[in-house]
Subunit: 148 residues, 2 copies
DNA sequence: GTCGATGCAAAAAATTTGCAAGTAA
DNA sequence: TTACTTGCAAATTTTTTGCATCGAC
């Protein structure tokens, strides 16, 4: 029995409406493992729902970032990239970024080991800076095999 | 005795020239602890060297990112932010980002386990993906005290 | 002297905004 | 019904490019 999606409550709590465009966009994000740009999401939505405009994509993504539902990244190719912070299908992962060609590798190695440390660090930081921390991201920068 | 600056070799190796604008920009970056935007750097340079144009700022920053000398970040306010990857004065630090107001707190309170994990992960990832890793960054996302 | 680097103006992209019309709650 | 959302078009903002000149090596 598929109850309401996991993000439903976040919309409710913040007083935001669950509209069709928003559901579609979240659907796309939850079905991909890529780092999509606003335009790529727009094109993907557009195939099935041509009525949805690019503006709505931008506004929705802004909202989702705001609610902590998606991450917004800049991998250096001039456009922002978006991905869900969590989902059933999507494992928590971090990034390995080539600073020369911009290639991005998702890695999930050691996430478990990291988790323990991050929980601890998160706790310390939360108290010290009075921050309510929800997520974290690790980026390693370097040169990929082809660019060395 | 102040020999050539630490980044000198990186320029040489890559066949890039050490010009006045580049030295000025690096000087500004090494003297601040802020996350400056291209325009802020431009304004800062412009005070003392009005001849340097905004285009040069962008081109120089692009080069510095390319060489691994500066980090380029998107903290969500619509413009890219830059900071040195390392320097004598600048301690390695990570970021705590408020997803509501965009406030960014630098923290340097690393715990020993944190360091250990990163060294370990870096080593393994380097081998597994054949990446030459130079740097890493950790971002914690959440709500700051004022935005909770 | 060479060839990379720079400045200016113009162009290109990406993202945001105004406003009337649509629609979830 | 009420106010949040949306689409479209226009505007804004950031970043990039073309080209003649300049300057580091």
């Amino acid at each position: 029995m598929p109850g309401p999606p996991w993000w439903y409550g976040k919309f409710q709590n913040a007083g935001h409406r669950v509209t069709l465009p928003r559901q579609i966009i979240l659907g796309i994000l939850s079905r991909t493992s890529k780092h999509l740009s606003a335009e790529e999401i727009y094109l993907s939505v557009h195939r099935t729902y041509p009525a949805v405009g690019l503006t709505t994509i931008y506004r929705t993504l802004q909202l989702l970032v705001h609610l902590g539902i998606v991450f917004k990244f800049d991998f250096g190719d001039g456009r922002s990239r978006y991905e869900l912070t969590a989902s059933q299908k999507q494992k928590h992962h971090h990034h390995l970024i080539c600073r020369r060609c911009g290639r991005v590798i998702d890695y999930t190695d050691f996430i478990e080991e990291e988790r323990e440390v991050f929980n601890k660090v998160e706790k310390i930081l939360s108290q010290k800076y009075n921050f309510k921390i929800n997520n974290h991201q690790v980026h390693f920068y370097g040169l990929c095999d082809k660019c060395q």
